[in-house]
């Protein structure tokens, strides 16, 4: 008799736990954790400058893009690979570019030897022999000129996007695009 009573108590406990889990699901959705903030500054229309001159690469291969920002330029599965060090994903790589922009307002980059891309699977275009010259002239440190070669892979996803970039720096120990 006592055992039956305790078993009933256990079953009630199980129901209680299930009820609480259901309650948690409801709380998860309703308490605002998974809602974005609503503290906007009113937008102003600005032109985001293509500091790295990426647009010129797309122009040269006859697939021009409307430059918007890095999020649009790089595909979500983008990867940057420095032939000497490591690989970076989209978020980390964009942060690298922004950090370069913040540290230096006067750098220049030119892209050359942009040959006709080769076609691969899933409409991927590969530019094999792209050369770059990067002039870093902060004024605070000695002017630095880096050169190197890149292989870029482009996909069409609504607009043309960079999905892979292998960098082959010629002089520096690490790529200037991923210095950390």
């Amino acid at each position: 008799m006592l055992l039956n009573k305790k078993m009933m108590y256990m079953h009630n406990g199980i129901k209680l736990v299930r009820g609480k889990i259901a309650l948690l699901l409801l709380l998860s959705l309703s308490c605002g954790i998974f809602q974005p903030r609503d503290t906007f500054e009113l937008p102003v229309v600005t032109v985001v400058v293509d500091r790295f001159n990426f647009g010129s690469i797309f122009d040269s291969i006859g697939r021009p893009i409307v430059w918007k920002d890095y999020e649009t330029l790089f595909a979500d599965s983008f990867s940057f690979s420095d032939a000497r060090t490591g690989t970076y994903g989209k978020t980390k790589f964009i942060e690298n570019l922004r950090q370069m922009e913040r540290k230096n307002e006067r750098f220049k980059i030119t892209w050359s030897n942009i040959e006709k891309p080769t076609e691969g699977e899933m409409s991927r275009l590969t530019i094999n022999e792209l050369r770059y010259t990067f002039i870093d002239d902060t004024g605070a440190v000695e002017k630095k000129i880096e050169t190197g070669k890149s292989r870029m892979v482009i996909v069409r996803d609504n607009t043309y996007k960079l999905i892979a970039w292998d960098d082959f720096p010629e002089m520096a120990a690490k790529s200037i695009f991923a210095p950390e």
């Binding site: 699901l25 998860s28 009113l42 540290k103 409409s123 002089m171 120990a173």
Partner: protein, 693 residues
């Protein structure tokens, strides 16, 4: 029926009176845990997967050491690039001594003038039972060579360590001591004119090293569920030194209650200059003096099953500091701290109703030039420090995942999943007009519901639907115009069935995603740009016909349709700018800009005889894309540069008692490719061998 089912299997332990008593005994714990769970839902979030790194390695599994002296492993692949990794190892291990010699050679040729080569010849010779103890004493050597070649320049580095090595066990804890002399040589003038063998181009410096290791990543201390190891390494070459200390502690304890506590700590500190790296085109220099400290702490309490639920609470903290003591002008010092807290609950398998859920919260901070005070940063007249400090950010990540399945009779299962994720980034610093514009929130709330039917191993059918709401919000004025919400819809069918000797599988899904800008006025008028909209339809069909024990025929048909465009909502039109004809044509419609159809057909014939497997296949692939011409008001074929692709290939694999060998040869034919007739081009080749004898 439900009660009987539960009582019949999962709760049979209830008949044990000691278990019956447990509720009153641990009611306090359960209530506290559940209150904590509810409390935390109002603060944080995470996933429902137990982090396996917290569990101790299983030392009960039998390990089988190979007795063969020679081990060879080689992989060779060529397609867009050429890659080859090769290793040969010779081992002699007996009661008297251990001798081990490795030969490693890896090459990556990017086929554009850039090549990476690595060669290693490390080895060790140790005598066992020194001084009639378990100690071993010997010598180890690690010669390595690295060669990087670009089109016009290149560098060659060689490194050699050699010295005595001593192993001993103290209270069954392994201790390793090694020390010796080092040398480093390099040639950094490997351009086309200087020549590889010109002696003046070579430089070398002597040095020394020492290392002590206590414990390892598997051995338990004093037969307790405790693993600890520490390694101290110091090296100096040419007056430039580097010290590295790494340690880790892992423990797992079972409480009397049946619950378990897990703890993991890891710490590493490196201080000094990396031995040598190429610093410029003509001089070889050291990397800057760098101090890097990493600390990671994790703790978890995993409860035993109570009321069908197995709960867990987890916490972790990590810290990473990087600083350059004598080159603070680089402004590359950074400190990253991360905190994470999570709760999980999982039901045992086999119940009619199964559940796994979790909620977790992470809050991270990235502090650049963290040693500088606000006053020092503000007083920098060049504004560089302020610009760098603008990159500081705080990140708050919440996620929750819940998976509920109701197992009904006749092999039918109903499943519901909820996956919510939020990532908020805030940039706390602002200097006059300098503001980081990237402050953002990314949120995704996804609901998944499905019904699954399974019948033994003969058939499976799943129908599911997904509905997600996504937010991508930017908060600063130059970026807030990009803020948008998206509604995502997906339906899919997965089937898998066997009909006698034929197995058919089909995976089909259809998706649509419609976005809407938060500030529509930014995308009107001169900047007319309605929000994106896209759809996908995809089917993957596979048919495998097993004729007999030797022959199998496989056919695959994959086809995907997709279109991308814009949603021309009424609210994006400004009648002062858009003509009536444009307005009448587009408003309230989905305007497709591009649509594409990709499909592939593949046939594979497989033949198996004893340990030999041969696959002969043929793949045909075609992609087509059309773009909408707004002048001619019709879709026009776009030349993407792709033609029809055909790829015959043959694969062979042979498994023998001492290893295996695999090979693949294929060639691509593209109808638009002018190189099709050149026999030497467009081949891909792969070879893999692993053997011991």
């Amino acid at each position: 029926m439900k009660l009987k089912s539960q009582t019949g299997n999962g709760y049979s332990i209830i008949t044990n009176r000691s278990i019956v008593r447990f509720f009153s005994r641990y009611a306090g714990f359960i209530v506290v845990f559940e209150l904590l769970l509810i409390f935390c839902t109002s603060l944080f979030a995470q996933s429902n997967v137990w982090p396996e790194y917290l569990s101790l390695p299983d030392t009960t599994a039998a390990t089988t050491a190979s007795t063969e002296p020679f081990h060879i492993k080689s992989i060779f692949l060529t397609d867009d690039i050429l890659k080859s990794n090769n290793s040969i190892t010779y081992v002699r291990d007996n009661n008297d001594y251990l001798f081990e010699q490795h030969l490693d050679y890896n090459v990556t040729n990017y086929l554009n003038g850039v090549q990476n080569h690595y060669a290693g010849l490390s080895g060790v010779y140790k005598r066992n039972n020194i001084f009639n103890t378990t100690a071993t004493l010997g010598i180890d050597w690690t010669p390595e060579m690295y060669y990087y070649k670009s089109e016009n320049t290149g560098d060659l580095q060689g490194q050699f360590d050699i010295g005595p090595v001593f192993n001993y066990s103290v209270w069954k804890i392994p201790v390793l001591i090694r020390a010796g002399g080092s040398a480093f040589g390099w040639n950094d003038k490997l351009d086309r004119t200087s020549g590889l063998l010109k002696r003046d181009n070579y430089d070398a410096l002597p040095g020394y090293y020492g290392e002590v290791t206590i414990g390892d990543s598997v051995k338990r201390w004093f037969n307790l569920p405790l693993i600890f190891n520490v390694d101290v390494l110091g090296k100096e070459i040419g007056g430039k030194g580097l010290g590295v200390v790494t340690s880790s502690l892992k423990a797992a304890f079972s409480l009397q209650s049946g619950d378990s506590i897990f703890f993991h700590a890891g710490d590493s500190l490196s201080n000094g200059k990396k031995l040598y790296d190429a610093g410029s085109s003509t001089l070889y220099s050291t990397t800057p003096w760098k101090i890097e400290h990493k600390l990671a702490l994790s703790g978890a309490l995993r409860g035993k099953e109570r009321f069908n639920i197995r709960p867990a609470v987890l916490y972790n903290f990590s810290l990473k500091d990087i600083s350059y003591p004598v080159l603070s002008s680089l402004l590359d010092d950074v400190r990253v701290t991360e905190n994470g807290f999570g709760i999980q609950a999982v039901t045992a398998e086999g119940h009619r109703l199964t559940y796994s859920g979790g909620i977790s919260f992470r809050w991270n901070t990235t502090d650049r030039i963290y040693k500088e005070t606000d006053a020092q940063i503000n007083s920098d007249e060049s504004k560089r420090k302020q610009s760098v400090n603008l990159g500081d950010f705080e990140e708050y990540i919440a996620s929750t995942d819940h998976d509920v399945s109701l197992h009904l009779p006749h092999g039918i299962t109903l499943n519901y999943q909820l996956h919510c994720y939020r990532n908020s980034q805030s940039y706390p610093y602002k200097y006059d007009t300098l503001v980081n514009q990237e402050e953002n929130d990314q949120v995704r709330n996804l609901n998944h519901a499905g019904i699954l039917y399974t019948r033994d191993s003969v058939a499976a059918f799943e129908l599911y639907g997904e509905l997600a709401k996504k937010y991508l919000y930017y908060y600063r004025k130059t970026a807030s115009g990009k803020s948008m919400t998206s509604d995502y819809y997906k339906v899919g069918i997965n089937t898998d069935c066997n009909i006698k000797k034929v197995r058919v599988t089909e995976t089909f899904f259809a998706t649509a995603e419609k976005s809407d800008y938060k500030f529509k006025s930014v995308h009107k008028g001169d900047n007319f740009s309605p929000p994106p909209y896209n759809r996908r339809l995809s089917s993957a069909l596979s048919i495998v016909w097993t004729l007999n024990d030797m022959w199998t025929i496989t056919g695959k048909w994959n086809e995907t349709y997709s279109d991308d465009g814009k949603w021309y909502g009424e609210e994006y039109f400004d009648r002062l700018y858009q003509s009536d004809s444009i307005y009448n044509l587009y408003h309230g419609t989905y305007g497709i800009e591009t649509k594409s159809m990709n499909y592939s057909l593949q046939m594979i014939v497989s033949w198996t005889f004893n340990q030999l497997l041969i696959n002969a296949g043929f793949l045909f692939r075609d992609n087509s894309m059309e773009e909408y011409d707004i002048v001619e008001l019709r879709f026009k074929q776009r030349n993407t540069g792709d033609g029809h692709v055909s790829e015959p290939s043959i694969e062979a694999g042979y498994q023998f008692s001492k290893g295996y060998i695999k090979m693949k040869v294929g060639r691509k034919f593209n109808s638009n490719d002018s190189d099709n007739d050149k026999f030497s081009k467009k081949w891909n080749f792969g070879l893999g061998v692993e053997t011991a004898f």
